[in-house]
Symmetry: C2
DNA sequence: ACCTGAACACCGTTCAAGT
DNA sequence: ACCTGAACACCGTTCAAGT
C-alpha cells in the first residue's frame, strides 16, 4: 500500500527525477509514464506537475541526473602542465562516461532526443573542451572534435551545438533558447572562433562535420589495414 | 472527406508503410500513430492490422522502406579489381546514405531502437561488408570497422550485431530470432571468424568495440593535431 | 479477403477544489 | 505550499461482427 500523505515526506524535484531514473533502469524507458511514476511515489499523477513542468522537463531532468554522474576529468591534473597527456585524459573521461551510460541503457536514446542545453550538459562539454584546448588544439580543431565525439559517442544531438553565441536568434529553431552563460569560457571560445571563421553562418555546417568524421574514420581504418593489423591492437 | 470504401483501392503493406513515412516526414515521428495513419488513409484504425502486425512491425517496415533507398554501392565496379579503391567506395556509399537519412530526420532515432535484422538491413550490411573484404581487409578488421560505422554513423544498435550465426540460441535476448540467411556470405564470414576467435562468446564484446572506436578516433585526432591542421583539410 | 464498431486499458494534461 | 478528483483528448490493441 502507498504511504499515507501524512507520513510521506514532501516530494522534491530530485526525488521525482531519481525515482524516474530508477524506474527506467528497472523496467525500461517506456515504463516511465507520469502515472506509473506517481504510483511508485505513492502520489496522484497530477502531484508531479508541481515538480516538473511536463514530461519533456522530466526527461531533461533525468538526463541531467545521469550526466551529473559523469566524471569531468581529474581536476588535480593541470592539462597545460603536460599537453601531450590529453589523449589519455580524454580516454579516461570517455571510458567513465561509458560506464555510467551502461548503467542506464535508456539514457543514450533519450539524450539523442534532447535539444535543450541544460547546465549539466554545458558543464560536461566545457570540461571536455578544456582538455583539448589545454592540450594545445586550436579552437577550430577542438570544435570538430567535439562534434565527432558528441554525435558518435555520447549521442548528443546536432542541435545541441547550434548557435551557442548570444546573438539575436529571433527565428531560431525550437532549440534551447537561452544562450551559453559566460562561465563556460571554452565553449564560448569555440563559438567565437566558429562565427569569426564563417561570419554569416548560424550554428554549424552539418555536411562538413559529417565528412570530417567520416574521413577521420576512413583514414584511421586505411592505416590499420596498411600496417599489419592483428587483433587485439589496443 | 475520406474516399469511400468502394472507390479506394485496397490497402497493401507498402501503401501503409509509405504513408507512414510520408506522415513522419511531414509532421515528425511522434505524429505517427495507428489512428492518425488510418485517418490519413481514409480507413478505420483496425484496418491497418491486416497489413502490419503491430506498431513495432510498422516501425520496422518504415525503416525497411528508408534503407531500401540506400545505394548499396556501384555494382559495376568490381572491388577486387582495385583493392585500394575501397575508401572512396565507402565514402560514396555513406554520403549517399546520409542524404537519405537527411530526408527522413526521424529515421536515425528509430533505427537506433530496432533490434530486428530485417532483410533490407542485412542486404545493406552485406554490401558494405563486401566493400571492405573486397579491398583486402581481414574478416576481423572488417568486423570492427562495421561496428564503428554501424554504431556511430548509421545508428544501428549493438544488438544488431549479436550472434549472427545459426547456433542454438535458446536463451538469446529479445534480439531478432531468425539466423542470417545463407545468401549473405560476407556477414557469415565475419561471424564465423569472430566465433572461431572467441569460441565461448556469443555476440560481440561491446567493451572491446567501444575502446576500438575510441582509440581510432583519438589516434586520428592526435595526428591531425601534430600535423599543421588548418581547416578545411578534406 | 478485407474492413468496421464497440470496447478495454492505457497515455499526458487541464482545471477547480481541497488541506 | 502541496496535493487531490474528475474530466478531456488522446494512445495501442482485442474481439466479434459485417460485406
Amino acid at each position: 500500500m502507498p504511504p499515507s500523505p501524512r507520513t510521506r515526506p514532501p516530494l522534491h524535484r530530485v526525488t521525482v527525477l531519481d525515482a524516474a531514473v530508477e524506474l527506467a533502469d528497472a523496467e525500461g524507458i517506456e515504463a516511465v509514464s507520469m502515472r506509473r511514476l506517481a504510483e511508485r511515489l505513492g502520489v496522484v499523477p497530477m502531484a508531479l506537475y508541481k515538480h516538473v513542468s511536463d514530461k519533456e522537463d522530466l526527461l531533461d531532468g533525468m538526463i541531467d541526473r545521469v550526466i551529473a554522474q559523469f566524471q569531468p576529468g581529474d581536476p588535480s591534473a593541470d592539462p597545460s602542465a603536460d599537453p601531450s597527456a590529453w589523449p589519455d585524459a580524454v580516454r579516461r573521461v570517455l571510458l567513465s562516461t561509458r560506464e555510467v551510460v551502461q548503467r542506464h541503457p535508456w539514457a543514450r536514446r533519450v539524450i539523442e532526443t534532447r535539444t535543450h542545453r541544460t547546465p549539466a550538459v554545458l558543464a560536461y562539454m566545457e570540461a571536455v573542451t578544456q582538455l583539448f584546448l589545454g592540450g594545445g588544439l586550436s579552437p577550430d580543431l577542438t570544435h570538430h572534435v567535439m562534434h565527432v565525439l558528441g554525435n558518435r559517442i555520447w549521442g548528443f544531438s546536432p542541435e545541441l551545438f547550434n548557435d551557442p553565441g548570444g546573438r539575436p536568434a529571433s527565428d531560431r529553431p525550437r532549440t534551447s533558447g537561452q544562450p551559453v552563460p559566460s562561465d563556460f569560457p571554452g565553449i564560448l571560445a569555440i563559438a567565437a572562433d566558429a562565427s569569426a571563421r564563417r561570419p554569416g553562418a548560424t550554428g554549424c555546417d552539418e555536411e562538413f562535420e559529417f565528412r570530417f568524421a567520416l574521413d577521420l574514420l576512413l583514414d584511421g581504418i586505411a592505416r590499420l589495414h596498411a600496417s599489419e593489423w592483428a587483433s587485439p591492437p589496443l
